[in-house]
């Protein structure tokens, strides 16, 4: 099954590739997956300490076109959201937007896990991990 046009578009022109400066207090980092499984996603969010909103996001992904597209897409989606809103992003929304076939659903699951890991990392850093559960 061929990749959808949206997956190819994100793969050819990935959004928000990169990393934030190490040690930035306002950044939460999530890294999920494993090289042995063929996918590793690193997703970072930069939170405005005053508004509590995610003002920027970056990603780096080792994996297939769908994995790259899923993580590229969610960096666009989380911008402007609150941490709680970001936690509500579901893998099914990602899969639907990118028209992922069943064998690529795990890529969208990984992207959802990556956001959650990034939000959790930010909350842990700022001593409010308990709030989200």
């Amino acid at each position: 099954m061929a990749y959808s046009d949206k997956v190819v578009e994100h793969y050819e022109n990935p959004r928000n590739v990169g990393s934030f400066e190490k040690g930035d207090e306002d950044v939460g980092t999530g890294m999920v997956g494993a090289p042995a499984c063929g996918d590793v996603m690193k997703l970072q969010i930069k939170v405005n300490p005053v508004t509590g909103l995610i003002e920027d996001a970056r990603f780096k992904t080792y994996g297939c076109g769908s994995a790259i597209a899923s993580s590229s897409l969610v960096t666009e989606w989380v911008k402007g959201k609150s941490l709680d809103e970001a936690m509500t992003i579901k893998n099914t929304q990602i899969a639907e937007e990118l028209a992922l076939p069943p064998v690529k659903i795990h890529c969208s699951i990984l992207a959802e896990d990556a956001i959650k890991a990034a939000v959790l990392d930010y909350k842990t850093k700022h001593g409010s991990a308990a709030e989200s559960h």
């Binding site: 590739v17 890294m31 997956g33 494993a34 996918d39 590793v40 996603m41 780096k60 080792y62 896990d113």
Partner: protein, 50 residues
């Protein structure tokens, strides 16, 4: 991708430059390459299976 006696030097040059370009792009996207460049020993990372 195969190479045979009818492959020309120009075709080899094209394949090499295309590969370099694509691998460069994928490395730019890869968190593993970033960690490798930072001197992280990837075998020491506790990866989460999925």
């Amino acid at each position: 991708m195969t190479i045979g006696r009818f492959t020309t030097a120009e075709e080899i040059d094209y394949a090499v430059s295309t590969l370099q370009d694509r691998v460069g792009k994928l490395r730019e996207l890869s968190p593993l390459w970033e960690m490798f460049k930072d001197g992280v020993d990837l075998s020491t990372i506790q990866w989460s299976a999925h």
